[in-house]
Amino acid sequence: MSTQGYGNPQSAVNNYSMSSAQNGGGAATVPCQNGPGQAYPAMYPPSSYYSSAPPAGYPTMTGHSAPPAGKIPVSGTDYSGNYYQNSSGPSLYPAAPGSQTAAHPYSTSNAPVPSLQQAAPYAMPAGYYGQPYSQPSHGQTHAQPQQMQPSLVPASSSNNLGAPLYPIVSYPSAPGSSQYGTLRSSQTGIGQPPVSTVMPPPPTQSSLQQYSQGKGATPTPAHPGYGAPPLSQTPTVNGQSNAVQQHYDQNLVNPMGHHYSGAPPTSTGPNTERTPSGTPGASVHSSPGHHQGLLYADRGVNNAVSSAAGDHSSSSSDHEEEDEEDEEAGGDSSSTTTGSASPVPNSYESLEGGGYQDLAAPPAGVPNKQAPPFGYNYPTMHPGYQQSPAPRPDSSPAHGGYNPSGYQPYSQPFPSLNELSSALGGLSGVPELEMETLRPLNLLQERNILPPKQASPPEPNLSSDLRKVNCSPDTFRCTLTNIPQTQALLNKARLPLGLLLHPFRDLTQLPVITSNTIVRCRSCRTYINPFVSFLDQRRWKCNLCYRVNDVPDEFMYNPVTRSYGEPHKRPEVQNSTVEFIASSDYMLRPPQPAVYLFVLDVSHNAVESGYLNVFCQSLLDNLDKLPGDTRTRIGFVTFDSTIHFYNLQEGLSQPQMLVVSDIEDVFIPTHDSLLVNLKESKELVKDLLNALPGMFSQTRETQSALGPALQAAYKLMCPTGGRVSVFQTQLPTLGAGLLQSREDPNLRSSTKTVQHLAPATDFYKKLALDCSGQQIGVDLFLLSSQYSDLASLACVSKYSAGSVFYYPSFHHIHNTAQRQKLQRDLQRYLSRKIGFEAVMRIRCTKGLSIHTFHGNFFVRSTDLLSLANVNPDSGFAVQMSIEESLADTSLACFQAALLYTSSKGKRRIRVHTLCLPVVSQLSEVFAGADIQAITCLLANMAIDRSVSSSLSDARDALVNAVVDCLSAYRANGSNIQPSGLIAPAALRLFPLYVLALLKQKALRTGTSTRLDERVFSMCEFKSQPLHQIMRMVHPDLYRIDNMTEQGALHLNDSVVPQPPLLQLTAEKLTREGAFLMDCGSVMYLWVGKCCNEMFIRDVMGFPNYASLPSSMTEIPELQTTYSERTRAFISWLLESRTFHPAFHVVKDDAPAKSSFFQHLVEDRTESAFSYYEFLLHVQQQMSK
């Protein structure tokens, strides 16, 4: 799947490149006019662009805003139109490979249906039940909507499509439960009969429900529910295949596909339902798969029939928003909105189950089946563990006993739990659940503590209803999934409390809601969400501040059922991630157009590195993919010791270059034609891009006036806001913001303090704040071979919500890996979704408060983050404290609302709500610890500390975090054996991750690390989403020379092998093998000296080890099964990734191997502990 996502763009690239080449030929002859001597005024035709544009823009805007008011049209388009096109649209089918058709029959109610009815699938489940572990996991999954299921789903769907090896069965653990109670879970199995294909896997809940009822009992074909199946299931089918299909369409059909291209192809659910009737249920769709499943289950056909009742959506507008608008609306500039819908054409995507895990998880299930004997399972919160069989037999003496106990009790309580009302969510915890994550482990004796597959995040211990609607852990994650009741309790646990957010990530499905009234709490302004409680029909109680609010009339109408008086079934209340189309109340100025300015270093150093060629080519290729509409504007500024502007006014025969040499007091030579409409001036832009690399090839200018160039960019962008992309290749040496080299190379490997991690000047910070105020985001690309003081330069992006990219020792010829990385990064960067003039507010339940923020943005007031630009690849983190006791509540909620202007000029609000239980026992706090989130938050805190205090302080603090936490656990546990280093199962990876953190470039000492690389690594920690950070901290290591089909995933028509994760130690490497290490932004393929000849021949394409070149950066496409399998695996790893990692083949004897070995964090290095030593160290510290 993944490859396609990427492959496609590439094909596009090719096309472009050809054309661009042609252009290039032509353009070469048309050099820009050069030279300071030009008289500006004379040369320009009075460009009308600027003067006319803004005024024009405003009026239109009003016109535009009108439509929303006319509810009907808008809603109609958004819901039905978009929705259908994208998700369920025809494109799905055509695109889908033949195999998919198997799945589709559903809609027609063909073979598949019968099979369902026959309950053939059931037989298999029965078999599974026999196995102890499977059931518990069900119990779990049952309740867990998003994460677990999705993860399973994709697998299943893929199975369906491909080979029916792994049938998916839905388990009815909760017979009596309401529709909500239904659980979906999928089971995979080997050697299952083809029936599996039929199984509409975890399809809709409806199907599950039916199963559940039938469960235990014989599978009666005649199940009541089944009469409806064709209808109700259809959605599922789509949903399932969706994963695959959508993927295709995005690529094929949708130019905007980039938005989603990065997104995990798998969708949780069928949110795209295509009802046979063909009428879209408007807002209904918006609800993610689960709900739909639910809704459908209940309503059966009804739903299908309900069409987009556009009308309801309108209704009285209320104005509550006004006040907030100021706060939330960002700035003030101009422009109109276009009619075309969101950048997200598919307004209808629902929550995703979680992209990454989806992919990762399925495999986990597989091994389960295979190795029943080892199939112990943690019944509780760690889905990852649940799914995984014991990694290795030796690893778990302790596990043995667990199966039965964990399993039995678990399956029982569940049905009843389902019946608990959501209000009791927090109380529904089953003690047994916690037992498993609390199971004490002696870390000193556990040799293999890694789960064999990537672990998915712990599930909050909520009632199934709440779990189902809770926010995806990919978007919103809390370090403690059980929130301690008081600060005292939190202090006792010695764990940090915080949230990790990835609010703007690419979603495959997202409900988009257009309505005049966005329902919010009157006092705290919280958006209505699934966790509010309805006191009665007309009143709801805010879950953050507990104020009772009225339900507005408009909200009473439920477009899903076209019925009145069911406010609790509205999509806002059924989904924890929704997007609203905001009215003009949320604007301080008309939504701005997409404006892109590129600021390019053209000094000698820059020309020498050759990045201009790469950049110009990439931009030419992606010019049409820049997100935007007809108002999109683009401009270029280049600089060396002077600043050059380019007049690209439509009608000119060639671009004109205007040179400003007064860098002390930069001015803009002409206001009109420097930022031009991309559509109108496309030819000129292309000419310029073709000519640019050649224009400066003879330059002798070595100075760099970055500061003045940035000031010029600021002045240029001031009126509109937008995105500035800065390419810099050396230390700025002229004008404002000049920097001195601060690095002493001799101290690179010092074990003492590392200096100069903080910026040298406040120039860049001030500039960034100015930019932020004018809604300008600055992205920095640093391609430099020497020290460039990234610590200072990065400030310009940090506080203007930009991103930082760093390519050390970039050279377009001598460093192919970096060149390829730049190309791929640019490909993604230029085409990814973007939100302008954004603000994000994070609200939490009364009693909790945020005290520290991490990420790239400016904190404008206590809970308001100002994001000039927001991009789908940046993550944020916040630390929280508990100010008042939460004793009187059982649930804590967090809501992140991101208000932004889409590249199409629409004001939108994306709202995520997370709900977690509040607990009063220390043991429960430990049981709910999410170790990955904790690690990321600690990393952020450590980086702050190393900048504000010193690196050694930060490192000590990290070690102390482990020591304190484990001491707290020991002090708490009464029945724990005194010897050894005891940790609860939930925290068993804590020491390992902290050790890995200490060995990161950002925080390590004693190893030669360039200052810029260290600072860049810090920037990454602060701005990357969790998954990316975790891969950086603790890369995944696989042995890939002996991958077998055993346990493989079958996706489409390819087979994706699933080798187990290996511990990061050289002990796991053998000379006979080839190992793949996935570090997120880099992948290493380490080939051992005695590696299997067949592998080298069939996969690497060389006759033997000796002939392997030492710098390979990709795996050739060979037509052997071996090669196909390997490539399938690698592309499967990549598919949910937005940025393509650099790929290095490392030979055992190559000097480059040190870069590979430095990631083996469990091993000892000259200056750092091995894992075992670290454990001893921790133990020693604890006994002090």
Binding site: P759, K765, L769, A791, T852, F858, V859, T862
Partner: protein, 139 residues
């Protein structure tokens, strides 16, 4: 002469009291979202140096006029002001940095500091007043 020293200190102290109140008001405005971090910090940073000087002035006066007790009272505060000013990292925009003021409870720390200073200045105010009256009587 002695009376003049205390009168001067008294006036200075009044100014400092007003300044502390201003700091408290501005910070609490920020806490309540009435102004944004940038505006708040640029307002406050303007007054950091005046405050520093105003605090150093009585300290020097006491040193010159050899009032050791009052000197000892003032010295730590003056030293703290100077320390805080000198310790501002190069990349920051002053003692109050808009990008950090919402982090790590800095806002609360600043608030606490302003409160303590207010208390201190009030104490000083009465000491100066008392000393001034004493000096005037003695004269």
């Amino acid at each position: 002469m002695e009376a003049a020293v205390f009168i001067l200190s008294l006036v200075d102290c009044c100014a400092l009291i007003f300044l502390s109140v201003y700091f408290i008001i501005t910070l609490s405005d920020l806490e309540c979202d009435y102004i944004n971090a940038r505006a708040c910090c640029s307002k406050l940073n303007k007054w950091v140096i005046p405050e520093l000087i105003a605090q150093a002035l009585p300290t020097v006066l006491m040193l010159v006029s050899m009032h050791w007790f009052v000197l000892l009272l003032n010295l730590p505060v003056a030293a703290w002001n100077i320390y805080r000013f000198v310790k501002v990292p190069m990349g920051n925009m002053g003692v109050y940095d808009p990008t950090e003021i919402h982090n790590r409870g800095q806002l609360k720390t600043h608030m606490k500091e302003a409160m303590i200073k207010l208390g201190f200045h009030l104490l000083c105010f009465f000491i100066y007043l008392y000393s001034m009256i004493l000096a005037l009587i003695n004269d």
